[in-house]
Symmetry: C2
Subunit: 568 residues, 2 copies
Amino acid sequence: MKQSMMLIPTLRETPSDADIKSHQLLLRAGFIRQNASGVYSYLPLAKKVLQKIETIVREEMERAGAVELLMPALQQAELWQESGRWYTYGSELMRLNDRHDRKFALGATHEEVITSLVRDEVKSYKRLPLSLYQIQNKFRDEKRPRFGLLRGREFIMKDAYSFHASQESLDEVYEKMFQAYSNIFSRCGLNFRAVIADSGAMGGKDTHEFMVLSDVGEDTIAYSDESNYAANIEMAPVVATYHKSEEDLVSLEKVETVGKKSIQEVSEYLNVDETKCLKSLLFKVDEKYVLVVVRGDHEVNDVKLKNYYDAGSVELASPEETKLVLGCSIGSIGPVATKSEEVEVIADQAVSSIINGVCGANEEDFHFTGVNPGRDFSVEQFLDLRFIQEGDPSPDGIGKIVFAKGIEVGHVFKLGTRYSEAMNATFLDENGRSQPMIMGCYGIGVSRTLAAVAEQFNDENGLIWPTNLSPYEAHVIPINAKKEDQRLLADRIYSLLQENNISVLYDDRDERPGVKFADSDLMGLPVRITVGKKASEDIVEIKIRKTGETLEVNFEKLVETISTFVVK
Amino acid sequence: MKQSMMLIPTLRETPSDADIKSHQLLLRAGFIRQNASGVYSYLPLAKKVLQKIETIVREEMERAGAVELLMPALQQAELWQESGRWYTYGSELMRLNDRHDRKFALGATHEEVITSLVRDEVKSYKRLPLSLYQIQNKFRDEKRPRFGLLRGREFIMKDAYSFHASQESLDEVYEKMFQAYSNIFSRCGLNFRAVIADSGAMGGKDTHEFMVLSDVGEDTIAYSDESNYAANIEMAPVVATYHKSEEDLVSLEKVETVGKKSIQEVSEYLNVDETKCLKSLLFKVDEKYVLVVVRGDHEVNDVKLKNYYDAGSVELASPEETKLVLGCSIGSIGPVATKSEEVEVIADQAVSSIINGVCGANEEDFHFTGVNPGRDFSVEQFLDLRFIQEGDPSPDGIGKIVFAKGIEVGHVFKLGTRYSEAMNATFLDENGRSQPMIMGCYGIGVSRTLAAVAEQFNDENGLIWPTNLSPYEAHVIPINAKKEDQRLLADRIYSLLQENNISVLYDDRDERPGVKFADSDLMGLPVRITVGKKASEDIVEIKIRKTGETLEVNFEKLVETISTFVVK
């Protein structure tokens, strides 16, 4: 493609409203433009990348046995009312009325539409399983659209839905989808993790998020430095074993600790390691008060607490509630003086290994030393109640835990019968009995994946596209197109590469070399071919965007040389 | 693809709410389902056809030098206010508010968005011309959505826009787009005409509609039976030459014609050919009254009248106005008794050849006979004022005019500076002067094209897809998959065809043969391969959907034989 025919509006300056690299560079390199907050136009270069991502997605979806269809963005309110989401989705769901004042939602997702479609057309177990997907614009009225394509209000998504007669069938398709997602993000060249993300059951395998590792991610991931294990930080179980020291038990003593409240203050003041301190927090679990004790250097994971009690809500008791229940301020709580008949005491398993510890005395300015669980206070249950930490053993037993931030680019989820029951999507099983279909859903943020790639592959000069996704594989730049030998050689190279199925962008603009090179670096095509002084000798310079490596190549060797860099 | 994995919900009965063939068959063959009035889901088979159409569109757009981008459906009201269309588009434009109560339109078309984009990024003639296109869902709240995909409220469109520094450049790109459109619809196998459709200037070349010939079309096309000439009926100029008979002039006489009003009644009563009658109509052209005279067998074309006067409005005078101006009822009007000082008289050129004609006497129950233009009444101007008729010579001088109904599937239009002036999209020309960009726009109804193909290619048993667009090229059907030899051979054929790049749908369902065959006919894939009794001999039956032709083929010869029917 000749660059003069394209719309690639590069910018020298970094736009002031773009906070993160991908947003800045996609704007500067002329890939996107904002139309409204969270609403973008994908300019020609971005459209090419999107199409490459979509092709990969389609290939892997088909391989996983999913079939493509296309559902509408306009969705009747009645469907959303059936599922109940009309009332619960809130203002993120964009709504409108048609000319007859009928209510519609703009598709934020398509569970309702697909469930009603399959409900109406599929009646027998013989037609199941069924996996359907689409690639389509979605609409979500985000409260704070930001980070460019990472959190927009209109964005491109691949959403897939599967329908099953049995849980085993769902499990099987879920596995295939999981594999497809791994393939897709691998083929996009991304450094990602499939992250356990079920908030329903601890360590469950019922939902995974595919997270691209990036400092601008909004979630923290705990992953193994040696295996594939990865989980959202609140989902990771702790399987650490704790060493119990051999020292002799000392007697419990109440000591004055005027003004010392935090673990750090107390540990320094009493010259005791934080690992010997008992961090005690009073929670309100639904309507009941629970004192949770963890080691001083650990943090309570309230998701685990919530799951243990199967609770509707879990929150820290307020200062007033604490005063009322334990008679002291939050900084002075401890299990020793807590009457277990009134408040249930549970503790993280690490606490059971503490010898001669320190805890609050439920009295302002006093702590206990020489605290020993069992002897000085009783615990209802020792459990895994803390957040995993860097350095902890990976829950799968392989390697140690490392933390990273992640951008969610995909999500696979076992929906079960949430929608089929609400919307009466049933089938007749082999015995002629009516059953709700069991469903799975599987999403990929296609436009977000583009941004995630841009976020992961760039340097100070611009974007660096992986060959698989690059809008073009090669960039041909005559230094001075007014010189006939340069122009003619550039023309020949343009034809040559096209004939050899190497996609090429040809900078035929009348611009200074510096402008062309800066634009080229910004765009980040894998191979640049500069046609300059040695044009008359048929010699050009190749520069590899990723490594900066340059070499002189003769026209005769050009295809061969480039092919080694743009392996498909 | 195995049919058991697809969602192809065929119907035996014709849905009662579908009036036309394409709508009925796309529903019955399991290609589409309605979600709301004018809103459809494209099921897997339809999605495949759409993708084939889109591929053809993309290839031809690229060949015409257009570059693909993707703009959002959510469009800020401010843009539509700038162009003025926020106020003029009416309730066809779907509108909504976001959570901050900002107003948005759902893209019915993208002139505003693209003009603002190009305005912001292109400043110099050096960056022009520029042709950009997208394929995207559009939203129009049609008053009466109907005919399935032919007139929907959410539909898929390819829209292209070009920007130019000169009229010549627009003309050049318009030509390329015209050619691209001809290629696209030809490759879709459609019987279509590129129809002159400018309503601004008579016979102008500034806009063409691409019309698929079909009885369910909403427009009438006049086209040549020998050349490419075609025009919307109101746009076709009449270039007929009229024979003036040699007979002697007779004298003007007023005759009684009690109760005879219409041309037919008068002509029969007076025993005069309709071609000798003068049909006279009083029009109100803006604020002025004009008597228009055409031959009795002709019809006044008010577009021509409007263009001649360059009028804002043209309408027939009411009975009251006619009484007031001419002193008689509408059925008695004629030019002889009309005082030309008060009412301008113009006539179609055919009238100048009438000798001894008949016309109303501006008096109830009386007509004149022996009327001769010039002698008995004067005419301000003889013009082309009538609708073209079947049998008239084609305006390009080649062949005769035939009428047909047409479905508009494409439209190319020279917009000029309509949007660039309203939205201040200017560039600096070679002399550094600011000029409004000159624009063209070019649309194709992608989902409508699918329906038009379905409308043009079907028979009593179902759809008949042209090979270029068919969801799959071959349909493999084992008559009884429980018989091992049939199943094994069908499996082998399925693999064989895939290996040879012949796309294939494999009916692996446990259904009776009659059901499979009926479904297969409904779907309309080009070649059906039936694996039956002779499976053990490696012999199958091939049936060509289009012709009904059947032949027995040995497995060895299968690819070769099929290839002759599915030439790509």
